[in-house]
């Protein structure tokens, strides 16, 4: 009659085997290599590093390959790996003023010290499919290589746009602080969160979520009137104190995208009218995320600036911070496909009971 369903273990093994085959796809097509992904899928690699909170392009490329291109799954692989790594040291804060910029634009000033550097951007491309890429030839509009690349070695410091405004007192000062920022990968999130913790949650938050939150502020849900004061992409040096040596050593460089917005502010009871700041900093080249982050950061600062809470989702710290992490979100969402026989059985009994009582009452009424 009934044979108890056994064999979960064999089913799992078979599923894993099938998955491996699917990952490989048609074996007559050459397999992707990690360097290919790292070099040619760089923006995907950047996203996985940013949301995985681990700067390692090779591992991110491996995660993308293993995850069959599912970037959230790849982020998850990186997070699960990262969490096992020991903390050897904390670096000095990186100096984005000393960034070797590949791209640096300001939407608020036509020209400025350091110049407008367009860099490798999609911004002014026409979004036409380039069928030459499909034919695996050279792209149709490949320009001849420029004489010199935009970046020159020994480049001078590129000052931040907001520092020009700050000189005239037109923008709020951002006082430097030596306080150790909280770390939500090591401490449970505590609310209300300070700005450093909010920024950490946003920078590793899901790009789509942060984008939508930022977009909602532009459409009137917690409006902050943002201008992109400056967007810069480039590499910065990471310095770490080596106790044995007694001084700091540069251990490498990482690519960052930084966005500072300048926001209208009409003043409040305590503050005179001046511009305010929103800040975004993301690993890799990820300008959509960095701009989004700076808008959401600004929207979340309503309390310290004495603004009104209008009930907009992007102003609601608990709503934003508790739902920004895509690994948490996807896990909880997808877990509802796991067995729930027991709870469903309990609900089934309850509904049957309620129904029979309701029907009995109906019959009695008739």
């Amino acid at each position: 009659m009934y044979v108890a369903v056994k064999g979960g273990e064999r089913a799992i093994d078979n599923a894993h085997q099938w998955l491996a085959e699917e990952r490989r796809g048609d074996p007559s097509v050459p397999e992707l290599t990690i360097p290919q992904i790292r070099e040619q899928m760089k923006l995907a690699v950047n996203r996985v590093m940013a949301e995985g909170s681990l700067f390692d392009p090779d591992l991110a490329a491996l995660a993308i390959k293993q995850a069959r291109g599912d970037l959230i799954e790849a982020v998850f692989l990186i997070r699960a790996y990262r969490t096992t790594l020991p903390r050897l040291a904390a670096s000095y804060p990186v100096d984005t003023g000393a960034m070797a910029v590949d791209r640096r634009i300001s939407a608020t000033f036509k020209d400025l010290p350091g110049g407008q550097v367009l860099g490798p951007t999609f911004d002014y491309t026409h979004r036409l499919l380039d069928f030459a890429l499909m034919a695996e030839g050279e792209p149709s509009d490949t320009p001849s290589p420029p004489e010199e690349k935009g970046r020159s070695e020994g480049q001078a410091r590129v000052p931040h746009v907001t520092s020009f405004l700050n000189r005239d007192g037109l923008i709020e000062t951002a006082d430097p602080s030596d306080a150790t920022p909280p770390d939500l990968s090591r401490e449970p999130m505590e609310l209300p969160a300070d700005r450093a913790l909010r920024l950490q949650a946003l920078t590793r938050g899901d790009e789509g979520f942060v984008l939508s939150m930022a977009y909602s502020t532009q459409r009137g849900y917690g409006r902050t009137h943002a201008f992109v004061g400056e967007l810069r992409i480039g590499t910065v040096a990471v310095e770490v104190d080596i106790p044995e040596l007694g001084f700091a050593v540069e251990i490498g460089e990482i690519e960052l995208t930084e966005c500072e917005t300048v926001n209208q502010f009409k003043g409040s009871r305590t503050e005179p009218p001046q511009f305010t700041r929103g800040y975004g900093l993301v690993m890799g080249q990820s300008e959509r995320k960095a701009i989004s982050m700076s808008l959401v950061d600004r929207a979340l600062r309503w309390k310290e600036l004495g603004e009104d809470f209008t009930g907009a989702p992007a102003q609601d710290e608990e709503f934003v911070l508790m739902h920004a992490d895509n690994i948490q979100a996807t896990g909880f969402l997808e877990h509802i496909k796991l067995p729930h026989y027991v709870d469903f059985q309990a609900e089934l009994e309850l509904v049957r009971k309620l129904r029979s009582e309701a029907m009995a009452m109906q019959e009695a009424a008739e």
Partner: protein, 292 residues
């Protein structure tokens, strides 16, 4: 990467120490949700990462581990978690409740009574019993601080006004040692009475929500109710069709498309144990090739 690249039971010792501190605090304040710095685990949130972390912090090499999901040892997620610890901790595993030193569970409490010295680890999706009445963590923590549980009683009362009874069939809220209202995880309310006065240590881990809480041995756990609408542990009104048990929680299995169904114990070890002792249900007919 080889298994040797990971520490015993996967987590590093600093992390385990942090989790153990949270567990000890939870045991010291029964029913109180202790925040802890939950780690990303190699299985997704929602798959029991809280329980797995609590388990990793509790395991010692001499332990004998049992993992159940929906009461069963052979559901895919139970198999997966058991394999994970067999691989990363190398501990012995068992399907027998009586032989296990540590049991990880999702959605059930075993039918076989637990003994002193055993640890039962629950996987918890939403640790906050007040969450669906008040979505804000900042508010619910305050409500617990002030022992302000009026909202919960209003909800239960509204259930009675609308349905004639409390319409919560699982994750039924309890009060621990007359102080904290606690979510017992999504166990059917049938299991609630087993929470109280249990000789085992009961630990609850919520990974995504970063909370651990505990019910120490012999703690009083009361399911919330009213004097004139008392709590009632309910189950399907049938006997198990395999082992004939009349007092175990049952799963309903649809056997054909003509409305045919059978009821079987959700606790597979309990059911097999009874059958091994010769007890038979309505439909039990052992098939030679099915015997494992």
């Amino acid at each position: 990467m080889t298994d040797q690249a990971y520490n015993f039971a996967y987590l590093d010792e600093q992390t385990k120490r942090m989790i153990r501190r949270a567990i000890l605090k939870g045991i010291a304040v029964p029913g109180y949700q202790v925040p802890f710095a939950s780690r990303e685990m190699p299985m997704p949130y929602g798959w029991g990462t809280g329980g797995v972390q609590v388990m990793a912090a509790c395991l010692v090499p001499e332990d004998r581990l049992k993992v159940i999901d929906q009461g069963a040892d052979d559901t895919t997620n139970a198999v997966s978690i058991r394999k994970f610890f067999a691989r990363t901790a190398g501990v012995a595993v068992t399907e027998h409740t009586t032989e296990a030193t540590v049991i990880q569970t999702r959605h059930r409490i075993p039918e076989t009574p637990l003994k002193p010295g055993q640890i039962l680890v629950y996987q918890v999706p939403i640790p906050e019993p007040l969450r669906f009445l008040e979505p804000r963590e900042t508010e619910t923590r305050k409500m617990h601080e002030l022992e302000e549980y009026g909202l919960m009683h209003v909800k239960l009362y509204e259930d009675i006004a609308r349905h004639g009874q409390i319409a919560t069939s699982y994750a039924y809220p309890v009060k621990v040692e007359s102080r904290y209202v606690m979510d017992p995880s999504p166990i059917p309310k049938f299991d609630n009475p087993k929470l109280s006065g249990n000789p085992a240590i009961q630990l609850f881990g919520a990974g995504r929500e970063q909370r651990i809480y505990a019910v120490p041995p012999w703690t009083e756990v009361v399911s919330l109710d009213f004097d004139d609408h008392s709590f009632h542990a309910s189950k399907a009104p049938h006997d198990c069709d395999l082992c004939g048990s009349s007092h175990s929680y049952l799963d309903e299995v649809i056997t054909d498309d003509q409305g045919g169904r059978m009821f079987v114990c959700s606790d597979t070890d309990f059911c097999e144990g009874r059958r091994a002792r010769g007890m038979k249900g309505r439909l039990w007919a052992p098939e030679p090739e099915a015997a494992e």
